[in-house]
Structure formats: C-alpha cells, structure tokens
Amino acid sequence: MDALQTKTKVKGVGVAEKASVIKKKVTGSEILLQCLVNEGVTTLFGYPGGAIMPVYDALYSYADKLNHILVRHEQGAVHAAQGYARATGGVGVAMATSGPGATNLVTGLADALIDSTPIVCITGQVFAHLLGTDAFQEIDVINTTIPLTKWNIQVTEAKDIAPAVAKAFYIAKTGRPGPVLIDITKNAQNELIEEVDYQKCESIRTYRPKPVLSMAQVETAAKLINKASRPYILAGQGVILSGASKELIAFSEKTGIPVACTLLGLGAFPTDHPNYAGFLGMHGNYAPNVNTNECDLLIGIGMRFDDRVTGNVAKYAKQAQVIHIDIDKAEINKIIKADVAVHADAKEALTALITKCDKKSHPLWMKSFKHLNDIEYERVIDKDIHPTEGNITMAEVVHRISELTKGEAILVTDVGQHQMVASRYYKFKNPLTNITSGGAGTMGFALPAAMGAKMGKPDKQVVAVIGDGGFQMTVQELGTIMQYKIPVKILVLNNNFLGMVRQWQQLFHEKRYSFTEMSNPDFVRLNEAYGISAERVTERDELDGAVKRFLEADASRFLEVVVGKEDNVFPMVPAGSGVSEILLEAPKH
C-alpha cells in the first residue's frame, strides 16, 4: 500500500479506502514523493546534494512513478520546470539542495513570478537544530526568496510536509499562477512518522484566488464596447492561463474588434485570423503600436501594461478610454488608469461580455491596421524575410521554420534580438506554444526551458531559438539533453555579439561597443562532443536544406546560422518615446 492515500473532495471523487488500523511508518522524504504522485506529478527536474540526500534516497524507489531528470545546474532545473509548465498548462517541479543549490534557483523563481508560471521548487535544508548557525551550505532560502515567490514555507517536521505540498500546488496553480518554494530540513526528511491520508488543498482562509465576476462591471464595459468606433483588444498571457483563447476569438468575431498580443500573449489569438492586429511592444509590429494611440477604447485582457508595451506612459493611449480585465487586482490601475476595471478571470469575463456585446464590425478601423501593416511589410518585413543579398538575416531563418512547422511547433526563445525576431516572424496558431522569458528577460532561459517543454509535450516539435550569448549561459544542459536523449531542436542565431546591447550601443551610445563582441567556440564540435548532431550554415543557399534536416531529425539536433554581425531589429520604440513614435528604421543621423 502506498505510504499516503489520496483523500480528495474534488468533484466528489470520494474517500480512498481507509488505512489499516496499524499504520506503516514512513520517512518525511517518502511522504514528500507520495504527495507529488498524488498531485499528478510525473516528471521533475533536479540536482542532488547533502541536505536533500534523504529525498534522493527515497526517489531511488520511485523511479516507476516519478521521472527525475538530472540537470547540470540548478538553474537548468528551474527553467526546465518553467518550460514544462508553460507547455503543458500544468505545474512544473524542480528540486535542489540547500545553500548554493537553492540560490541557483533564484533567477528562475524571479522569472516564473513575473511571467506567472506555476512551479513548485523543493529545497533541502540543514537540520533544524543547525538553522541560523552558519552550518555548511546553510542559507536563509526563505528570506532570500520571499520577494521572488508567490509563497514559500520552511518545514522542520515530517508531519508538516503533506499539508505544505498540498498548499504549494494549490497556490502555484490557482489565481494568477506563480512559483512556490518548500524548504525542508534534513531532520524532517529523515523523520519516521505514521503514514497519513493526503488531502489536496481546496481553500486557504486568507487567500481568494478567484474573484467573483461583477456583472455590473461587465455591463459597464459592454456599454463602452458597444458605443466605441475604434475599439482595440490587447491580449496577454492571462488569456492563455485561463484557457480563454476560444472565448477571445468568439468575442473578437462578434464585436469585430482587432486583437494585438503582448510578447507572452502570443499564441492566445491565431496570427492568421483576419482580426489579428499583430505583436505589441518595443520591437513589435508597426500597426498595433501606432493604433494604440488612435483607438477610442483600449481593452486590456490578462496583461499588465508592461513598460515594453506602453513605452512612455505619459504618451500612452491618452485619447482612449480603458477597460482592464485581470485576475490580479494589484495590476488594475498599477500602470494605466482603467475607466472600467473588470477584476476577473479572463475566460469568465469574456464569456459574459460575449452575451452583453452587440454584433458589430469596424471596417474603416480594420483598414487602418492593414494600411499600417502594408507600410511595415514594404519597409521592414519583406527585406527581413526575403533578402536577396548580404548576410543571412535572423528573420529569414525564423520565417522558414515557421513555414515548415506551419506555426504548430512549440517555440522557446531566449532573450535578445533573436527573441524579438522570433516573436515577430513565427506565426503562432495555438496557446501554450510560445515559451519565452518576458518580464525578467533571463538570458540562458531557452535551452533548459525547451528541455522541459519537450518532456511535457513529447509529441510536439520543440524548437529553441537562442543567441550565441544566451546559449553559453546554460550550455551545460546539453549534457542533460544527451543523457536523456531529449529530442529538442536547438537553433543558435550567431552574430558573435550580444546583439541587442550592441544595437543600443549603436543607436544610443555612438557605436561604443563596450564589451559586447564575443569570440565563440566551435558550436558544432561542442554539440558533437555531447553526441548531438550539428550543422553550421553561413551561406543563404545552404539554409533551406539545413533547416529541413534540422526539423526532420528524430533526435535532438543543433543548427548554427551565422547572421549579420551588426543587423538591427526594427521597428523599435526608443526608450522614453511614445508607442506611436515607433521607428521603422534607424534615424539617418
């Protein structure tokens, strides 16, 4: 019999059979693993060490239930857990030891918090009696991670492990999702206690993750929508997290309102839909940025008016009324004052709005997007994706991958120029297919996140698009890909520069390229050393065949494409400018 038995009230599944009168004694470590099994965890990413050895010892007997992936660095574990969560819509799990093991998770926790990614991280901790004594590998992980987690807890007794895990999963996945950390002292991991019934958490007294939809707010919003002549939807990741893509499409089709997506919102609305207006933000499309300052009603759904979306707030959509729909009350009026705030889950709000809003169309307004799109196509896009001479561009590589995968792959991007290019030119069709580090902008995110995504969605083509800088930040995870034969595709767009920083140095620092040029190793031989087949492309006429071999490979494969050293990403909203001041090319002076 399992150490723990699931007793859940969810949907009346019922109570499992009663434990025998004399209960078996089990360790805290085994309780932890059984809790994970009961929460539906099948895959976790981790790295062992002294303070979490009892858990790893127990894990040895759970190989048939829990597929533990041994990463090469704890940062790889947390990003892999993020990738797993973002691809599956479930909760990712990462595990590390105390001290440096725990601090190596910190970047991923920060990333998951700002990008609303549900993960549960488990760290070992020194024995409880050693807490605060500067014992070997003791760091105060709780206070270190308070600002970077949705919730965290230290457990010092085995009896508290099951309730902590139950709360952790509940908190991570409900409301606005986020990262949770459980720090378990070694004595709690070793402690023998009687087995307990596992009870999933269904509520916490002080936590109200799901706001009650106010129909008054919905009706007020609907009135504004019904009378607007140039309404405009900005869709963020909240649409994806609430599973509201279908509702968003239905709402847009009924009301005739164009939909633009934020970086993390890409995939929330099909890019081939006639109402799709484009990608928002600093390096987004021309039309959605310009028309932000032309609309008469802005409807933000599950997005947070990040500064990369708004540009200079003082110049942002001053002419428009604003409806802001978000599950997180703290996001409403945080950056942009809302005329109507709908504090709600996106799916519920959209479902209600569909019934309250009139069927309409806005042909002239839609035409203005087309006109601006045509300008961007002629001055930027066509040159980017169909260059006839000069170096290979990042855009033509992404464009070809998008065509060959029909926009159906999971695209995992790192941070920098390649990220913006990939977001501009990959034609996303579905939610949960765009995985990138948005708010935190974490270089090194993509390679481990792609591993996690592939583990979560083994039947999907998973393509990591990375720059030469970011690739080398977590390159050690090639070892994980090798060991577990994870068939992820790794594309490095190599300009031998930290390209985005160099672009800013060119445009705003008089070409003073301060420490941005990189001498890189032979990436092909590096991958081959890890047993990953690899290819390098430098000429345009080699590109198509190389991309096909890359995508058609059954196993993991690496493709390096050497792109222009000093190519820039445009359009661009320069820092401090309004969104309508977006530049289509570099100023002449």
Partner: protein, 99 residues
C-alpha cells in the same frame, strides 16, 4: 504627488516571516515606515495584526494595499489618512487592551 501620513492595518496569519513579507512590499517601493506595531491576536497565536505608520502618496498607499493583499497570509490591509488611529491603537496596546 503630495506625501502624507497613513495608518495601515494588516490582518494576517501569524506565520514565520510575515513581517518580512510585509516590509519587503513596502521597501521595494521605497515607502517610508515611520512606526510599526505588531502583535498576535489576544488568545489566538495563529493570527495577528501589524499596524504601520507610513509616509507616502495617496497613489502609492492604494497600490501597496493591493500588493499586500496578494500575500497569501494577509487577510486584509486597510488604511486611513493620518496618524491618529495609529497612536490610538498604540496606546490601547500599551495598556494591554484588546485592539
């Protein structure tokens, strides 16, 4: 924007680190804490209250209220203008009255 004093009352579960969590929210936004009173609820060590005298703007106090209410352990954060309530509650606390 004009800064002024606000009394902020926070009702929360009395978990380890709760004060750190509260202070983190304020420090991150550079909200000045002039005085702080924190205690367990009488006869109920599982919940408690923090009362802070803050010096900030109307916009910021509203924002930190919502950020504080995002903390899992926080049941409610309520603010009032001025310091009157803070000193009243402080006096009652000093006199060991239930506040």
């Amino acid at each position: 924007m004009i800064k002024q004093e606000y009394t902020l009352e926070i009702l929360a579960d009395n978990e380890f680190s709760i004060l750190n969590r509260i202070v983190n929210v304020l420090n991150r936004r550079r909200v000045r804490i002039k005085r702080l009173l924190a205690h367990e609820h009488e006869g109920d060590f599982k919940s408690g209250r923090a009362i802070l005298l803050l010096y900030t703007t109307a916009d910021m106090i509203e924002k930190v209220k919502h950020q504080l209410e995002k903390l899992i352990e926080v049941e409610e954060a309520i603010y009032t203008e001025g310091s009157h309530l803070f000193y009243e509650l402080l006096e009652r606390s000093n006199n060991k009255q239930v506040i």
